[in-house]
């Protein structure tokens, strides 16, 4: 890897140690970053153990935040590796929540049917996004920025129409109460600490943690261990080169837009069934948080390179930061956005550096 050495190209390839290879993995930076951020906040909170930041409650808190953004981040990473963005997921969260809420309250449909309609709706919009991007050749940034606003606007207007002027659909909790299907989205997995038979005041770990792990594992498996995953890298690297090798470029992109919309709907179902109401404005800013998660996880904004697993560490960093700031004396959550922006910049620079190491000095 030494620049300008007289050794042949073949020897340059041969000289790589396993450690070098680990260092060039896209998610490497996010793993180191997650450890550092965690230690930093622990230090800022005075290395206390058992309360505040370093407690089961604290842990449950940032895992919850991480799980929610992480569910979005994994498929957003795949889409970004394929060279596209999906900004519409922010309002898809709100829109899908409304579809579910209205189905089971205003229209009185059974929960299972409401869930099918919600996911079908999301997959349909995702496919439409993808189809528009592929068909028009416009940047997905613009296409999905359009659908971001259209979904939000239509969501607000239609909800007001159907609920006599409200933008929040209440009564979802009662409509779904006692339905075992709801548990798939809002159950408490286990509680640590607390007192009494119900562990009152303990740290709750909810089922969204399982969803997060499932989405990350499936995304990572698809990316690294399937033909489709190989096509994702190729499409993002160069769609013309991918096409010349027989990769179905349009199909790959459309399926990935469907995947991001599906995960936004999953997030919406978890939210709506946990909180008991559907709000059209829920999910705002999530489109950018998901992108930040992906970038911290080592995914390139320009496509062709990245990691779905890394997005999990990115999500963890987001969770730790959001709740950690709350525990640091003299700070408050106003600083969250500042720290997030700084982390994004640092991550982008680290990625750039790692990429140059990984691809040699040539490209």
């Amino acid at each position: 890897m030494t620049v300008g050495s007289p050794a042949s190209e073949a020897q340059r390839l041969r000289r790589l140690s396993p450690i070098r290879v680990l260092l060039t993995r896209p998610e490497f930076g996010s793993i180191v970053g997650a450890i550092l951020i965690f230690l930093l906040f622990w230090a800022l909170t005075g290395f206390t153990v058992g309360k505040g930041f370093m407690s089961w409650q604290g842990f449950a808190g940032y895992i919850e935040v991480a799980a929610q953004v992480g569910i979005l981040g994994a498929t957003v990473s795949l889409l970004m590796i394929a060279g596209e963005f999906d900004l519409s997921i922010g309002s898809m969260v709100g829109a899908a929540g409304l579809v579910l809420g209205l189905s089971i309250t205003t229209y009185g449909l059974p929960l299972w049917l409401g869930l099918i309609i919600t996911f079908a709706f999301a997959l349909g919009i995702g496919a439409l996004n993808g189809w528009l991007v592929v068909k028009t050749g416009l940047p997905s940034f613009i296409v999905t920025l359009g659908s971001l606003y259209m979904l939000r606007g239509a969501g607000l207007a239609l909800t007001r129409l159907l609920t006599d002027g409200l933008t929040i659909v209440s009564g979802v909790g009662q409509a779904a109460a006692g339905n075992p299907l709801a548990g798939i989205f809002n159950a408490t997995l286990f509680t640590i600490g607390g007192s009494g038979p119900n562990n009152a005041g303990g740290a709750d770990f909810k089922v969204e943690l399982v969803w997060w792990i499932a989405v990350v594992v499936i995304s990572t498996w698809v990316l690294l261990r399937t033909r489709f995953g190989n096509w994702i890298f190729a499409v993002g690297g160069s769609k013309d080169a991918a096409r010349s090798m027989g990769v179905p470029v349009a199909r790959v992109k459309i399926l990935l837009f469907m995947a991001t919309a599906f995960c936004a709907a999953l997030y919406a179902c978890i939210q709506v069934l946990s909180v008991g109401t559907a709000d059209v404005l829920r999910g705002q800013q999530k489109e950018f948080e998901a992108i930040i998660t992906a970038v911290i996880g080592g995914t390139l904004l320009t496509g062709g390179y990245g990691s779905a697993l890394g997005s999990a560490f990115g999500a963890f960093i987001l969770g730790v930061t959001q709740l950690g700031i709350f525990f640091v004396p003299g700070f408050n959550s106003d600083w969250y956005a500042f720290v997030l922006g700084a982390l994004l910049l640092i991550a982008a620079m680290v990625n750039n550096y790692i990429l140059r190491r990984a691809s040699g000095s040539r490209s």
């Binding site: 073949a10 790589l16 890298f233 190729a234 991918a242 990769v247 691809s359």
Partner: protein, 291 residues
């Protein structure tokens, strides 16, 4: 610079061309891209397709690789007329095209690149997966055969030199059963050493009995390896020559750049004679047409 023992024609050369274009024409709107052009290549033969930029080289190879269909004339494979419906169709018939810029993806590993579009799988249903072990092993073996040792197949292709990347693409095409290799300017963006790597591999491919169409505008790269030279100029055939029957200067002149280069040389000489300092050397400029 690449005079190898391999440069002698392969013995098993057949007389029936593997791939042939007979009098093909193509117009785009009102622009005449090709007019009555013929080209043929046999197994174990390298046909160098020469021409200046805009001579119609890329239109012709896009026809041969199934991207465009000729308006007039026919394509013939093994003596039988064929219609290439798509690039995929051409590939299925054993015609592999390696485009200069689209050969490999620098941010993907050697084995991922090698099997792109032809990924080996194992398992069934939702457990059907990319057989990375097989891909790594095969890619390593294939790269070793062409003289590139790969210990870490996870290494990104971006770490390889330009010559090695083109070579990888050629080896990949061969591995997946190509009978005809169409190489689009594989040496143009490369330095002398890197170009030598690629030219050596083209000769090896011929020795293994492949039919090679080598597109270039660099006559110096074509002369040492070509068995046959097809020259295009302004969309028309400017002649076909066998090895030894044509010189570098003749080729240059036929490519259409000859007159311009002679004019350039004369102009530069006049300038020099007039005492103006000229940095470019006319003698070297004339070596490469259309550069």
């Amino acid at each position: 610079m690449t005079t190898q023992p391999l440069a002698t024609p392969a013995p098993e050369r057949s007389t029936v061309p593997v791939l042939e274009a007979r009098g093909v024409s193509k117009t785009f709107g009102r622009v005449l891209a090709l007019k009555d052009v013929s080209l043929s290549v046999r197994a174990g033969e390298i046909n160098c397709l020469l021409g200046d930029n805009g001579a119609g080289k890329s239109t012709l190879i896009k026809m041969l690789s199934g991207v465009h269909r000729p308006d007039d004339g026919t394509l013939v494979m093994d003596g039988e007329p064929v219609t290439l419906a798509s690039p995929h169709d051409a590939q299925a018939r054993g015609i592999a095209t390696v485009f200069q810029d689209l050969a490999v993806l620098p941010l993907m590993s050697v084995s991922r690149n090698f099997f792109l579009g032809n990924e080996p799988t194992r398992g069934r249903g939702i457990f059907r997966r990319f057989d990375m072990e097989f891909a790594d092993r095969t890619a390593r073996e294939q790269m070793a055969q062409i003289g590139i040792t790969v210990r870490e197949t996870s290494q990104l292709v971006g770490t390889m030199s330009g010559g090695e990347r083109q070579t990888l693409a050629i080896a990949r095409a061969e591995h997946f059963g190509a009978r005809v290799l169409i190489l689009d300017e594989p040496t143009s963006a490369l330095g002398v050493k890197q170009a030598a790597i690629v030219l050596r591999h083209i000769l090896k491919a011929r020795a293994r009995g492949l039919a090679v169409i080598f597109i270039t505008h660099n006559v110096q790269h074509a002369l040492p390896v070509g068995d046959r030279f097809t020259i295009l100029s302004h969309g028309r055939s400017a002649g076909e020559f066998m090895r030894g029957a044509v010189s570098l200067d003749q080729l240059l002149a036929l490519m259409g750049g000859g007159k311009e280069l002679t004019d350039l040389s004369r102009e530069l000489e006049q300038l020099q004679a007039a005492g103006v300092s000229v940095e470019a050397q006319p003698a070297e400029t004339s070596m490469e047409a259309g550069g």
